[in-house]
Structures are given as structure tokens and as C-alpha cells.
Symmetry: C2
């Protein structure tokens, strides 16, 4: 496994692989890897001949009051997980080689980025779409792998790829959960033991929504309300949104639909968590 911090060198290495006819998969991450990331790398390993993982805590996707400076950096453990999962190349650029002082270009997706995470984290998705474009241009992958946990993010990246004709196929991989249901997240390590148990309510509220979709005749707004009631009654959780939306447009659903997803964002103590669940109505 090659570990490389230079964008130019990474491009050269990946181009050499493609020249040999290899299919290239890219897994963009911010490091602090967990089993969710491992599942992305393993999917890439299964689908592709050459797997590049990027580890970069991207400053431009954090708001001024967010956790950029204290975001977990666990390089040695990350590299070990990449190696075990079968990565061929790990790209570890310093911030200075990704953003020059004169940088002034942004890739912006508008409509899909305006609500939910976009509303709660102004500028977040501009940072994401810009850095993902840069990482695609450096690693030039045939396929790139993202987690369903960041549901809105993968949708925005798909929109961007289509709109800008980026020559890459986006693959979305299922959420990986702890045994008790908590969705894996690099931010879970911020949680105290008490917060960790409060945080379980997110996946439990989604499970409730999933069951109500199958077992009841309730409409999406009623199910969303049931999620909110569940979360608010649990205590220790500050709900930012708990909604049921169309999984392509992210617009709130009034009627039962074949294309529905339940999305939750909530703060547990100082830690902001998100989770989601595709719904199958009876």
C-alpha cells in the first residue's frame, strides 16, 4: 500500500494504474475511520482493480463554530484499517497542498443543498462539493464510494456529477451500525457514556418509522411526528429535524410513496449526529 501526500504524485500513480487497464475506485474520507468506512473500501476492493482512499479533514466544509480543530485525527489507525481492507493507495494531503491562499473557486449545488443539512450548516455542502471535485480530479476514479449515512451528501454528489459531466460513477453503500443500532460515525467518539445511550434514540426513532410505514396506514407527516415525539420524550436529545422526504428530491412527502426516506439530525450534548432510513410503505 502506497501512502502519498502529493496531489501530483497521486495523479501520476493512478494514471499509471489506469494505463495498465485497471479500474480505479476512490473512497473519499476525512479519516477517523470506522467500520462504515471499511465497508466502503471493501466495496471498492470488490468492484475495482485499484483502490485509492483519501484521508483529508477538509476545512471548507466546517462552519466557524463547528468541530474542525477537534475533529479526530487518527492517522496510524486509519492506515492500518486501509491496509487491512485492501487499499492500494492512501492520499494524505496537507491542507496547504489542497488550498492555496489565492484559491477562489467553489462548486455549488443549489436546490438539493438548501434545506436540512444545508440549512443547519451554511456553506457545508459548498465545501463538500468543491473538495470532492478536487479529489476526483486528482485521483480520476472510475467509481467513487460514499455512505448512505450522509444521505443528502451522496444525493448532492450524484447531482453534481451529472450536472458537471464528471466521468465517475457514484456508488452509495448501506449504513453500518453498532450492535445496538447506533449508526457508525467518526463523531461517536465525542459521546460520553450517558450521551451514547441517549444517541440510541435516533436509530430507534427510525426503526419506529420503518415499522409504522409497514404496519400502519399512517401518512408520512404523521409518522414524522411519531419520530419527533419519540425523540423528544426520550430526553437528552435536541432534535434539529426529523422528517420523511422524497429520496430523490428531499421534498417533504404528504402521501405514502415508493421513494421515501426518514432523515434525522439531532444534537446529543455538544455532538451533532445524523441518521436515516429508507422506508418501504406497505
Amino acid at each position: 500500500m502506497i501512502v502519498e501526500s502529493s496531489p501530483a504524485e497521486v495523479r501520476r500513480i493512478v494514471r499509471a494504474a489506469r494505463q495498465r487497464g485497471l479500474i480505479v475506485g476512490c473512497v473519499p474520507t476525512m479519516g477517523a475511520l470506522h467500520q462504515g468506512h471499511v465497508s466502503l473500501i471493501e466495496s471498492a476492493r470488490t468492484d475495482c482493480d485499484f483502490v485509492a482512499v483519501t484521508l483529508f479533514v477538509n476545512p471548507t466544509q466546517f462552519g466557524p463554530n463547528e468541530d474542525f480543530s477537534r475533529y479526530p485525527r487518527t492517522l496510524d489507525a486509519d492506515l492500518e484499517m486501509c491496509r487491512t481492507a485492501g487499499a492500494d493507495l492512501v492520499f494524505t494531503p496537507p491542507v496547504s497542498s489542497m488550498y492555496s491562499e489565492s484559491a477562489q473557486t467553489t462548486v455549488r449545488v443549489t436546490k438539493l443543498a438548501e434545506f436540512l443539512e444545508g440549512a443547519h450548516r451554511p456553506g457545508h455542502f459548498d465545501g463538500v462539493s468543491t473538495v470532492v471535485t478536487k479529489l476526483f480530479n486528482i485521483t480520476e476514479p472510475d467509481r467513487a464510494y460514499f455512505g448512505q449515512k450522509d444521505f443528502q451528501q451522496q444525493l448532492i454528489i450524484r447531482q453534481m456529477v451529472t450536472d458537471l459531466n464528471q466521468p465517475v460513477e457514484i456508488v452509495t453503500c448501506p449504513i453500518v451500525r453498532e450492535a445496538d443500532g447506533l449508526a457508525m460515525s467518526s463523531r461517536n467518539r465525542y459521546l460520553s457514556s450517558a450521551e451514547r445511550s441517549h444517541a440510541l434514540q435516533l436509530s430507534q426513532a427510525l426503526k419506529l418509522a420503518e415499522n409504522l410505514a409497514v404496519d400502519s396506514a399512517l401518512m408520512p407527516p404523521e409518522i414524522a411526528q411519531a419520530m419527533k415525539d419519540h425523540l423528544n420524550s426520550a430526553g437528552g436529545i435536541d432534535v434539529q429535524y426529523a422528517v420523511i422526504v422524497d429520496s430523490a428530491t428531499l421534498q417533504p412527502l404528504a402521501e405514502r410513496s415508493d421513494s421515501a426516506v426518514a432523515l434525522i439530525a439531532a444534537k446529543v450534548g455538544a455532538t451533532r449526529l445524523i441518521d436515516n432510513q429508507i422506508l418501504r410503505f406497505r
Copy 2:
């Protein structure tokens, strides 16, 4: 020479060329080709093994009161000029295959796009940087060729390529002029015979600036004033700007500099023209 309107097919053709080890040059144009465009294609022909020309009147770079609908479309003549200049592939996409109704992604360069053309044509450079990104992603060139006539545009595209790590080298080619000095432009065909002679004042004002830079001790603001005086005294010209700026930052120059360019934009009748001249101070 292949003429192709499908983005997917163009990508396939260019990729096959690259697979054979050919260096790919791209010349993005809006058609209505003239000798300036021909010089770009010829430069690409000299530098590269496979030359792709794109002909696309991009709606998103025109303002609501600009000339999108009446912009000259001269496909047959364009194709003949491409053939003569040595193009291998001409990409002629319809608007519908470049922009879907759900498109919502913009590539935006900020600082360099805020003044001069950007101030007079709000949104223009967003349209340019977005469509050029799309054309780069479709044709995947090693090099792309732009005219110095659109001075600010080539600077913005260079900035975008650097900022987004786009894997393409930008080549800027000199302005091509008519025998009497008028810079070649697709919009020159809008000019009446009287307007055509008024329009000569642009290149003459630039020639004046070039001479004053070499032959006088005047400072850039004084030379810029001399250009304005020349243009205003000529009549028939509505000057939008006539400035001397740093050729990398586009900031106005107070002092004589090794990196200076004189830029003019003016309306001649209903036709908006631009021209420029690199200055060499004595």
C-alpha cells in the same frame, strides 16, 4: 473529421484516442468561427495528436438582455474551417444534452470574476466556468486553447483549473486582428459599415497605450486616461471601461509594472466589443 453531438459518444471517442497514447487538445468555442479560432485550432494541431473543437452557444453565459438568441450560428462554415485547420473531432451538443431541467450546479470563481467583464455582465463568468468544466469533463483534454482576446476569461479559467486540480494545461493564444487592427470577434458581423470604422478606435487606443508605455514616463492611470480621452473624442463609442491593470490580479496599477495589460470594453451601436494589449514599459 468526426462530427458528434452526443457527450457520451465524444467521451468514448476521445478516450479511445488517449488509449492509443495520443495527446488530446481541446478548443472550446461558441462557433461563428473566425481566424482567431482558426489560430487556436492550428496551435492545438501543432502541439497535440488529437484535436477536439467544441461548438456550443452556451446559454448560461448570456445575460437576459444579451444576444443569446441572435448570436450567429454558422455551422456549415464552422465545420469547413475546423476541417481545414485540422480538427479530428467536432463536438456539437444541443442545449438539451448539456443542461437538464434539473441542473443546479455552478462552478464559481469569485475574486477575479467580480470586476470588469464580471461587473458589466453579472453571471457571465459563472456560465463560462461551469460550461468549460463540463466540456473538459466530456473531452478530457491534456491541453485546452483559449484566446487572449478574452483576457479575463483565460485568467479565470487558469484560476479554476488550479483551484479544482483539473488535469488540463491551459494555453493562451495571441489576439488575431484584421489588417486595420480590429480584433477578430464573432460579434464583428453585427457591425454596420459606420460602426465598423468607429470600432477601430479600440485597437487604436490600445496602440496609443502601448506607445505611451514605451515612449513616455507616464504612469498607468495617466495612460488609461489617454485611452479614455482618445475613445471619447472619437465619437460613436460608449466606453464601459478602459483600464490598465496587473495582468495576474486584474487590480488597477498605480505604478509602471512588468505585468501590465490594457483592457477596453465599449459599445459601438448595439454591439459590445472588448480588446486588450499587454504593455511593456520602457
